[in-house]
Structures are given as C-alpha cells and as structure tokens.
C-alpha cells in the first residue's frame, strides 16, 4: 500500500465539512446521502401502506355489486388518492431513496453533488404527502378526478370552496415536482461529474445507467406536468378559461401536457427496477450480466423512445387517425429495447448456478410478470384493441402488473439484496420467503382477474357494477387482502433484523460492485480511500476471491 500524499490533502479538506450530527438528530438533519436514502425508504413505505389501505377499502367495496361500504364521492377520492400516492409518494420516491443510497457508493463518490439540496428534496416529500392526506379533512373532501385530474371534471369544484381537494392536489403535485427536479439535478450532476477514477460510463453498473436515464427523463419531461398543474391552478382559482371547452379552451391540450410527462414517468419508475434486476440476477446466477453494453444502451433507448409515445393514452380522445397510427408504431417500438433487457436477463440465468434466496425470488418473479405486463402493453398499444378495452379493468390490470408485479417486486428485491449493506446484518430468510410467496400469490390473485373483467367490459373507477362481474371481483378482493397481509412479515423482518439480525461480513453475497468493497454499513464518507476502477462490472465467475457457491466456469 502506497501511502499517498494526495490523500492527506484531500481528507484534510473533507474534514472541514463533516460535522456529523449524533443521536436522533442524525436522522433529521443529516446531509449524508445514506441517511437521506433511508429516510426516503421509510417515509415512502409508510405512504405505501396508507395508499394500500385505500385500495383495500375499494376492494372491500367491490366485493358486492352494490355500492355499500363507502359513498361515491369518497370512493372517487379513494381511487384518486390511491393512484396519486402510489405513484408520486411510493414508486418514484422509493427508487429515488434507493438511488440516493446506492449511486454514490456504486460510482465511488463520497456523497451526492449537492448534499443540502438532497436534504431539502427529501423533506418536501413528507410535507407534500401530509398536504395531500389532509385534504380528507376539508369540507370539500379530496380531489375526485383520478390521478390524471382531467379537466373539465377536475375543475368542477362541486363544493364551491376556495380551499378544495383539487387545489391541494395541484399544490401537492407541484411540490413533489420541485422535489423531483432537485433530485434530477443532483443525480445527473453526481453521475456525470463525480465518478471515481477509472469509472468510465461503460464501467458503471446498470443500476447507475438506469438511474441516469430515469433522472434525465425527470429533468426534461416532468416540467410539462408542473406547467399543466400551473394551468389547472389558474383555471381553478382565477377562472382563466384555458381548458374550458365552453369558453374556447381545450381539455385535450391538458391531456397532451399531462401525458407528455406521465407516460415517460412510467419509465422513470420502471428503469431503476430494471437496474435492480440487472444487479440481482447476475449476483445470484454467479455469471456476468449478458450483453452489458446492449443493456446499458437499451436504458437510454427506452428513455428516448418513451418520450415519443404519449398519445397512446389518448386514442379515445378524438385523436386523428394519422396520429393514432404514428403513436401506435412508436409504442410498439418500446418493446425492442425492453425486449433486449429481458433476453439479457434470461441469458444471464441460462446455465448459471442459481441461488434462490429472497432477492432472487423477487427479481425472477418480477421479470416473469413483467413479460406478461409487456405483452398486454403491446396489445394496448394497438389502437383497435385499445379502443375496445378503453377505460376498463384491462388497463388497470395491465399497469398494475407493471407498477406492482414488476416495480414493487424489484423494490423488495433491492431492499433484501442491499439490506446487509445498509445494516451490516442479515434479514431472516424464512420470513423473507414467506413475504415473497404471499406477495407473489396475492399480486396475481388481485391483478390477473382484472384482465378478464376488462375484456368482458367492466369499467374502471365505479363503486357499483353489473352482478355478472362479481365472481372475478371476489377473487381480486381476496387477493388484495392477502397482499395487505403480505406486508406484515416484511415489516416484522425489517424491524427485527435491523435490531437483532445476524451480523454478517461486508460482502455476504460475494457480489461485485464498488458498494460491496467498503464496510457494511459504510462509513460517513463511504470509502477510506477513493477507489480506482480498472475493469467492467459483473466480473462474476472470474474473480479469485473466495466465493462459496460461485462456480468457476472457465
């Protein structure tokens, strides 16, 4: 080991601004990216539970064809808040939390580029979440126009109050947008400017590639949603007739602005999930990721194509024929780079020595169910089919296979996989497997029946329905209660293992990647010395490092 004189200078400089808080303050006022990452994960999980409870109330309502448990305005409020919270307070920020924890470690940086900005971006999340939830207490009730808040429905304001649920929704979305832009600036700057020496772009783990492409989408598409929210605000509170069709306004314009962000938002959500699959699958197959470069570039391919497909959400909005045709083609084009990834994962598993621990189970199930979601996605991309099932449960089933059965599975895979890194302890494998099987069975029971229901013509967002649909609805409701129960072993496992789990070595999975070269949990500034990277990631099966279970397949 050469004791490098440079290190002296560097560390002397760093020590100026390490004033680590101790005790409870550490969890409130720290700018350490790892603490902020954990704050994100815990906060968003709480919102996940709340929004999950909303869906269980809705599924309870849908057990019988009559509207009996909740009244219709409340039902509207529940599905609006369920969708809004799951997207903007669970899936997107949870993966931001994961990325917050992992990206600096994976690229060999000491922290994010702008630590204070990072902390502010986090603190907006709980505030905006409480703002949204507080709208249940308003005399007007919550927003009721669904998570996409289409005018003219969203602008009707039946209660007549100035402070109504819709206004709170707009403010919440605008705040969360600001938080996401701060995050986007921070992540892109960190990845572009702070990689360790030798960490070229094509040596970055796929997770970093996917975070970079997702955050670029946030930076350049999300402002359209913020713009749309400002326009809604002007019309709702000041009466600017932008979207009012009776005063020359154009409600379709809102749909364009909304989906210009909210379609790429799907890829903001799913790309980091693909990143997690690309980390977990090689580690538990003990093989390098197949086609690393293709997978890395496919992330960018997906990001670029995803900005050109938004009108497929509007096939039934009086969209002209040429536009339908064009966007049908671009939509189907997305299947190409995503297909590249799926084949790469399959080829990685092929002939690998599989270790079916909890993270791998979640990842494998996630990939399999993503293939299903992808197939229904291509079906929906076809205009003729889309018009047939427009606004039915088929659409609901499709996107829940994406957001729950793919992305949430990936999030759980990631939490289990990096749990020993974050805590220095191992989770309980038995509880983890129980959690997996309950989730896997529950998710399919809940979301599969939505496909036949949609094909039969059951419309979404209604609390009462034709009795012929009841049997599949009962199956879906049983599934959703199972899914709710499935979170209990997860919570027990996480709390119990954090406190009393078996202590493990720094790299219990014998995984590659810079994050595994430092101690578990990592020290405040991540690395004793900034590492130098000399090879591509995923060197599984090639290292001489002792790795029980690894096979040398030279």
């Amino acid at each position: 080991m050469t004791n490098n004189p440079i290190e002296g200078i560097a560390s002397a400089h760093e020590s100026e601004h390490i004033e680590q808080e101790t005790g409870w303050q550490r969890y409130f006022f720290s700018t350490d990216h790892k603490v902020i990452g954990i704050q994100y994960l815990v906060t968003t999980f709480i919102f996940f539970l709340i929004a999950g409870l909303f869906s269980m109330v809705m599924r309870g309502e849908l057990v019988t064809p009559e509207s009996d448990i909740v009244d219709r305005p409340l039902y509207n409020g529940l599905f609006t808040m369920h969708g809004t919270m799951m997207i903007f307070l669970w899936i997107i920020p949870t993966q931001v939390g994961l990325a917050n924890y992992l990206v600096p470690l994976m690229i060999g940086a000491r922290d994010m580029a702008f630590p204070l900005l990072n902390e502010i971006a986090y603190w907006i999340i709980p505030f905006a979440g409480l703002l949204l939830l507080s709208s249940f207490l308003l005399p007007s009730g919550t927003a009721q126009a669904g998570w996409w808040s289409y005018p003219p429905v969203s602008l009707q304001n039946p209660s007549g109050h100035v402070f109504n649920g819709e206004l709170f929704w707009i403010l919440g979305i605008a705040l969360l947008g600001i938080s996401s832009i701060m995050g986007g600036v921070n992540f892109v700057t960190t990845i572009v400017k702070m990689r360790a020496p030798g960490m070229t772009y094509f040596r970055m783990p796929i997770f970093v590639w996917t975070v970079l492409s997702a955050q670029l989408l946030q930076l350049f598409c999300l402002p359209a949603l913020t713009g749309a929210a400002i326009l809604l605000f002007l019309e709702l509170t000041l009466g600017a007739p932008l979207f009012n069709p009776f005063k020359e306004g154009s409600p379709i314009l809102y749909q364009h602005l909304f989906w210009f962000y909210s379609h790429p938002a799907v890829y903001v959500m799913v790309l980091p999930a693909f990143g997690v699959f690309s980390e977990v699958i090689p580690a538990f197959s003990r093989k390098p990721l197949f086609g690393y470069r293709s997978v890395a570039l496919a992330s960018f391919g997906i990001a670029i194509v995803s900005t050109l497909v938004w009108v497929h959400h509007m096939f039934a909005s009086g969209t002209p024929g040429w536009m339908r045709m064009l966007f049908m083609l671009t939509t189907m084009l997305v299947a190409v780079p995503t297909g590249v990834k799926v084949f790469a994962w399959a080829a990685t598993i092929w002939n690998g020595k599989l270790h079916l621990q909890t993270p791998m189970l979640f990842a494998l199930a996630g990939v399999v169910m993503f293939v299903f979601a992808g197939i229904t996605g291509v079906m929906l991309g076809s205009t003729a089919f889309d018009l047939h099932v427009n606004n039915t449960y088929f659409v609901v089933g499709h996107f829940h296979y994406v957001v729950y059965n793919t992305i949430t599975m990936a999030i759980f895979a990631a939490i289990y996989y990096w749990f020993p890194k974050i805590t220095g302890r191992m989770y309980a494998e038995g509880w983890g497997k129980l959690h997996f099987w309950l989730t896997f069975i529950g998710a399919n029971l809940t979301f599969f029946p939505m496909h036949p229901l949609g094909l039969q013509g059951m419309v979404r967002r209604i609390s009462s329905y034709d009795p012929q649909y009841q049997s599949w609805n009962i199956v879906a409701s049983i599934g959703s209660f199972l899914l709710g129960m499935a979170t209990l072993p997860f919570i027990i496992n996480m709390v119990g293992s954090t406190l009393q789990g078996r202590k493990v070595s720094d790299n219990p999975w014998h995984a590659t990647g810079l994050e595994w070269t430092t101690s578990s949990p990592p020290p405040v500034e991540n690395f004793e010395e900034i590492p130098v990277v000399t090879s591509a990631p995923y060197g599984y099966g090639k290292s001489k490092a002792p790795s029980p279970g690894a096979t040398d397949r030279e």
């Binding site: 440079i6 200078i9 700057t189 402002p223 600017a240 154009s250 000399t534 591509a536």
Partner: protein, 208 residues
C-alpha cells in the same frame, strides 16, 4: 487474474496545494447542475408556449368582443430594450469581478437589478392599464400566464442578485471561487432570452 478494483491506488491529477483543483471541481459541478436545472426550467416555458400556440391556432374566437389584446406601445418597447440590455450590463459586471474590480462590479451589478426592477414596474403598469383580465377569454389567460410567470423569474433573479451583492461584502467571499455570481448571471441571461420568446408570441404575433 487481478482483482478488478485497486482501492489503494490513486490516479487523480495532483491537486494544487492551495486547493484550486478542488475549487475548479466545485465550480464545474455547480455550473453543470445549474445549467441542467435551467434547461429543465425552460421546459415549463415551452409547455406554456405550446399551450399558447395551440390555442391561438385553433381557437374560433381568440379575442372576446370588445378586447383588442396586448399592443406594442412605446412603454413596452422601452421595457423590452431595458431588460435585454441588462444582459450586457451583467456581463460586464461579471468581467469586472474576474479582474477583482470589486467596486465596479457592485455598481454594474446593482444597475442590472435596477433595470430588472424598472422592467417589473413597467409591466405592472401595463397590467393595470389593460382592458382584459386573466379570465377574459384565451387572450387574457395566456397573456397573464406568460407575463406573470416570466415576471416571477425576473423577481427571483433580482432577489438572487441582492443576495450575491450582500455576499460581496463578506471578507474573503471569493477565496473559494465566484460561481454563485456566474450562476446568477447565467440565470439572468436565461430570463432575458425567455422574454424574446414571450414578446414574440404575445406582441409580435397578432391574431387576426
């Protein structure tokens, strides 16, 4: 086979003993981050421009009866000239700081803010004299949307300039670089450039 990672070996360029490499690092991070932020921010304006263009092209009745829409009056022209030329002033302010002419920097910097404030006052005067409001048809909605949102950015720019001016009185403030000033200056150029689009779309393009 070698282990892929050598944590004990450092290949970075040697930082200068005075830490200037570190400052250069910070500067490049801040300017990069700020630039992509501005690019992102410009998408909000683009979404508003698209809104205006789409509505103006498709509306059957852009101007409600009795409303003439925004007109290019002498005050509007003066306002535009003042705002756009403030970009030149702030450029020289930044140059003065680079040459460590602190007094000249403060004078030019303050002049920029004053020109921005003049623009804002002129705009509010214009608003008060118009015969349409934000709820008066599409012309009113889009006019107040664009001028208002742009005006907010001018206000933010002036506030940032005041902060930078106050910080210039802190002894040793520029020992760690002056990228705060560079960032605010970039923001000001951005705000001025946006005005060119706003002016063209609202005033130059007269609906028939």
């Amino acid at each position: 086979m070698e282990s892929p990672i050598h944590p004990n070996h450092l290949q970075q360029p040697l930082p200068q003993p005075d830490g200037s490499a570190h400052i250069e690092d910070e500067r490049s991070k801040v300017m990069f981050g700020f630039t992509i932020f501005l690019l992102s921010e410009s998408i909000i304006f683009v979404s508003f421009f698209v809104t205006l263009i789409a509505l103006k092209l498709t509306a059957h009745q852009w101007l409600p009866p009795g409303v003439s829409g925004p007109e290019i009056t002498t005050p509007v022209i003066i306002n535009t000239v003042v705002l756009l030329s403030s970009s030149i002033v702030i450029y020289f302010a930044e140059r003065a700081l680079e040459r460590n002419h602190l007094g000249k920097f403060r004078l030019l910097w303050l002049t920029t803010s004053a020109m921005g404030a003049y623009f804002l006052v002129g705009e509010i005067k214009e608003w008060l004299g118009l015969n349409f409001g934000v709820s008066t048809g599409l012309v009113g909605a889009t006019f107040y949307l664009l001028t208002g949102f742009h005006g907010l950015h001018v206000t933010a720019g002036i506030i940032l300039q005041m902060i930078m001016l106050a910080r210039s009185f802190i002894p040793g403030n520029y020992n760690h670089g002056r990228y705060g000033v560079s960032a605010v200056s970039l923001f000001w150029h951005f705000v001025d450039a946006i005005w060119i689009f706003v002016f063209s779309l609202l005033y130059l393009w007269q609906a028939t």
